[in-house]
């Protein structure tokens, strides 16, 4: 039995401890905002936060999050009325096309901005490695800068 928290709620998983966190979230907890893209940690569509750090859940065995706290895209905003500044920036810049990778992009950006509160373009180039197949990178770059502005003002 593996116990951990997801978005503040206690979760228990009785299955194989080597099961990737991604599939526990999607099939067992039925939180489907976290996406499957490659299964090998390449694309980042499955990015969640484990104790606040961005992690690729498709290569994170559930055993590795025992007694830890996981945040998914569903739990990022403090409430339905108050989105996270990164989500706000994504809306303002109208980033998504198909939208499939964007939960992972947003989760990666939230963690990235914690260590790079005022990032340069070069910081973004080295710090953001998620794949977007639709090619929303031009808007993602602008949205990251905008989110940095909003975070600076807000907090």
């Amino acid at each position: 039995m593996t116990s951990f928290k997801v978005n503040g709620d206690e979760v228990e998983f009785a299955g194989d401890e080597s099961t990737p966190l991604l599939w526990v979230l999607r099939d067992h907890v039925q939180l489907t905002g976290t996406k499957f893209g490659c299964g090998v940690g390449q694309c980042g569509a499955c990015t969640v936060h484990v104790d606040g750090s961005a992690s690729r859940s498709c290569i994170t065995p559930v055993a590795a999050v025992a007694n830890k706290s996981v945040t998914t895209i569903e739990g990022l905003a403090s409430s339905d009325d108050e989105l996270h500044p990164v989500q706000k920036a994504w809306l303002e810049l109208d980033v998504p096309q198909c939208g499939y990778c964007q939960a992972g992009q947003i989760m990666a950006t939230v963690d990235f901005l914690r260590s790079n509160p005022n990032p340069s373009d070069a910081d973004i180039d080295s710090g953001i490695t998620n794949i977007c197949r639709c090619g929303t990178y031009a808007r993602i770059r602008r949205a990251i800068h905008r989110a940095a502005e909003l975070s600076g003002k807000g907090d």
Partner: protein, 749 residues
């Protein structure tokens, strides 16, 4: 989801529709003359597309699959504009597949449904505006009846019918029940003057963005239905291979694995329902199914393509081009013009197989019961999903309900519904509701790849440097290779669009085709043959200009010339105006400062191309370092889609198409060795990441007239040749083989 309730709901509506169709032509309008006010929790509905709630909120149906191209925003915008409601009050409901059986066969219930070839918007431009305009007219007629005035005394403002003489102002929500009962007009009412548009033509954000950034948007992969089981398939790693035998014991021993059985694939080269032979594993979770598959012991029969390889394919293409092929176009007198030319230039270009790789791997939910079947599919072609499920189950199509999920990327991959057929086979065999899941490895190894080809170009020029003779000779693996009723002599039609530039501009022009066989399945990949041919033609123009000491921009502008309509009979016609390419090319060249003095090792490349009715151009500036490292310094892209219904979404398609074109040109290729696809995941099929693309990236939407074209494919074809032309300008290295990969490093070190 909605499944069962939705079915009975639809059955009721179908009866109304059919009775309405004969009297009032409601099929065309999607507007049956019936009130559905009692059906859905007090929400009142006019026809199939428009619901108006008591609070005045409006729900508009979107009939097309949303694959990231923005139709779920753009199509409801058209309805809202004509209906005259505030866009802020609109939400959107995805409609299922609607087909109706008639004496003449199946016909569309909600208008044609399917997205491909950049037709999602253009195919519904009139239809959706008529839906909105008709609903508005019905609301005005209901108000006129209530007030006892002629309808001509009524007008609207957003959400209200006004009658000035009576000083009346009635909200739509109070009229919709009456409006829904009125018989339809014989003719759709006149449409709004485009100059009065408040919603259409103005930049709007994607209506689903809020659901996407909060993780609420539901894709096919997110389907959860009661009692659902999970399935994966081990497909033959050999092209056209078969299952000789398999041992399921170890797979069945994996916790959660419920069943293991064989899936029959197609015969080599035959029309197909599914892509490959394989073994299905059904389990209680996705991960158990994957673990079960890993534990399978399968003995494969390699089959007839076991010796196929990319190496052999390219050797064969080179050998073919030494012979005479099928002449598919022969304008003027090419041989004489070439013989008379002052200068001739010949070059060969190689375009690889590539995979679609939508980020949401293929998946599908299917539940086959005795007399019916429910499909929830991320698909570009829901009617194809219905046909696939019918072919597998033998059920009549009217008993197959297809719900369309949001789609995590299309790019042409989801024009085919092989994964729907697979899921139907598994549900039929087991009796369970099944969600079939592909992994990324499945996706890259089993695709309908963009055809690869070797192109030989020759141009003849007179002493003034004008092109007098032009030929393109292509040896490729046509994507039409396994279509039913496709004669061999038509295979070229998928690979060469004969009315493309420079048709009717260069008088003596010949196109020649050679079909080469390989076991790789082929299909449509975003802007199909345009991606290959734009790279080839726009690279060759650069080479001819430079060889004959002409400026690449001036040379192109002279060829494209001024605005004029040329006949164009391929998809995207009936006309092609090369002057619109001149306009875009001049624009991007000016924006990027073409012709200015550049630092050492830096260069600017240009290209422009006409794609399926729309026009695109790119100017790209790069630096090639002494060790071959490539930096893209700046991108200026421009698109002319006539009229842009949602300029912000058209800009997004141009940005995305540009990135797709560059990413593919830089690093992507599917290769075959010993009858197997070699690439398995994103480590060896390296889609470009954000670091590849500069902050200095402009995308311009330049309107032209009042007629919209699609926007999904116009932004991609000219990106790759602009990039490789820039590489040449910066380094003197001419890329004649895609992808660029490590060619620069190899050339310089």
């Amino acid at each position: 989801m909605l499944s069962k309730d939705n079915r009975s709901f639809d059955a009721d509506r179908r009866r109304f529709l059919i009775s309405g169709a004969t009297v009032a032509g409601s099929l065309v309008l999607g507007m049956p003359a019936v009130s559905l006010a009692n059906v859905a929790n007090g929400v009142q509905q006019i026809g199939f597309f428009v619901e108006i709630g008591p609070d005045g909120n409006v729900v508009i149906g979107s009939n097309q699959p949303e694959i990231g191209q923005g139709v779920r925003t753009a199509l409801p915008m058209l309805v809202a504009e004509e209906l005259d409601v505030a866009w802020s009050q609109v939400s959107v409901r995805q409609m299922p597949l609607g087909i109706v059986k008639t004496a003449e066969g199946f016909t569309w219930k909600y208008g044609g449904q399917g997205v491909g070839g950049s037709t999602g918007l253009t195919g519904n431009w009139d239809y959706m505006r008529q839906v909105g305009a008709t609903a508005r007219l019905q609301l005005m007629r209901a108000a006129a009846d209530r007030l006892g005035v002629p309808v001509s005394h009524c007008r609207t403002r957003p959400g209200y019918v006004l009658c000035d003489a009576e000083a009346a102002e009635i909200p739509y929500s109070e009229l919709v029940a009456d409006a829904a009962r009125l018989e339809l007009p014989d003719e759709p009412p006149p449409l709004k003057d485009m100059r009065d548009y408040r919603i259409v033509g103005k930049p709007q954000n994607a209506i689903d963005a809020i659901d996407i950034v909060t993780g609420k948007a539901k894709y096919g992969i997110d389907t959860h239905e009661p009692d659902m089981r999970y399935a994966v398939i081990a497909r033959s790693p050999w092209l056209n291979g078969r299952v000789k035998s398999f041992d399921a014991a170890r797979a069945l021993a994996v916790d959660g694995v419920l069943d293991v059985f064989e899936i029959k694939g197609p015969d080599p080269g035959a029309p197909y329902l599914v892509l490959a032979h394989g073994v299905a594993v059904v389990a209680t979770s996705t991960w158990s199914a994957i673990k079960g598959r890993d534990a399978l012991d399968i003995d494969w029969e390699p089959g007839p393509n076991a010796k196929d390889s990319s190496k052999r394919f390219w050797q064969q293409n080179r050998a073919m081009l030494k012979k005479r092929g099928q002449v598919v176009l022969d304008d003027g007198d090419f041989d004489a013009a070439l013989a008379a030319a002052e200068t001739t230039v010949t070059r060969q270009y190689q375009v690889p197989f590539v995979s679609h790789a939508p980020l949401e791997p293929q998946n599908c939910y299917v539940f086959v019961e005795d007399d019916r079947c429910h499909v929830i599919a991320p698909t570009q072609m829901p009617s194809g999903a219905s046909r696939s499920a019918a072919a597998v189950t033998g059920l009549p199509r009217e008993n197959i309900h297809v719900d369309i999920s949001r789609v995590g990327g299309g790019f042409g991959r989801r024009l085919t519904n092989d994964y729907v057929a697979e899921a139907a086979m598994i549900s039929m065999k087991t009796g369970w509701p099944i969600k079939l899941q592909w992994t990324r490895e499945d996706d890259l190894q089993h695709d309908f790849y963009r055809p690869a080809g070797l192109h030989e170009m020759t141009a003849g020029l007179d002493s003034d440097g004008k092109v007098t003779a032009w030929t393109q000779r292509l040896a490729s693996a046509s994507k039409y290779y396994r279509r039913p009723n496709m004669p061999d002599e038509n295979l070229w039609q998928a690979e060469l669009y004969s009315d493309d530039f420079p048709r009717r501009i260069v008088d003596n022009m010949r196109l020649e085709y050679f079909h080469n066989a390989i076991g790789l399945p082929r299909g449509s990949w975003r802007a199909p043959a345009h991606t290959a041919n734009a790279f080839v033609v726009q690279s060759f123009l650069d080479e001819v200009a430079i060889e004959t000491e002409q400026d690449p921009l001036r040379f192109r502008l002279d060829l494209f010339g001024d605005e004029r309509e040329l006949p164009y009979e391929n998809h995207g016609g009936p006309q092609f105006n090369p002057g619109r390419l001149s306009r875009l090319l001049k624009f991007v060249a000016e924006r990027i400062g073409y012709g200015r003095q550049l630092p050492e090792r830096r260069g600017i490349g240009l290209a422009a191309h006409f794609t399926f009715g729309g026009y695109g151009a790119h100017a790209i500036e790069v630096t090639v370092a002494p060790d071959g490292e490539l930096t893209i310094e700046r991108i200026v892209a421009a698109i002319d889609t006539g009229f842009a219904v949602n300029p912000r979404a058209v800009e997004a398609q141009l940005q995305g198409g540009t990135i797709d074109g560059i990413s593919t040109a830089l690093g992507l290729e599917i290769t075959v060795k010993d009858g197997q696809v070699q690439q398995t995941n994103f480590h060896d099929y390296p889609l470009a990441r954000i670091s590849r693309f500069p902050a200095r990236f402009e995308a311009h939407v330049l309107p032209y007239d009042q007629t919209p074209t699609g926007a999904g494919e116009m932004g991609i074809p000219s990106a790759a040749p602009a990039l490789t032309n820039a590489i040449f300008a910066a380094s003197g290295i001419r890329i004649r083989r895609l992808p660029v990969a490590d060619q620069l490093r190899q050339a310089l070190t």
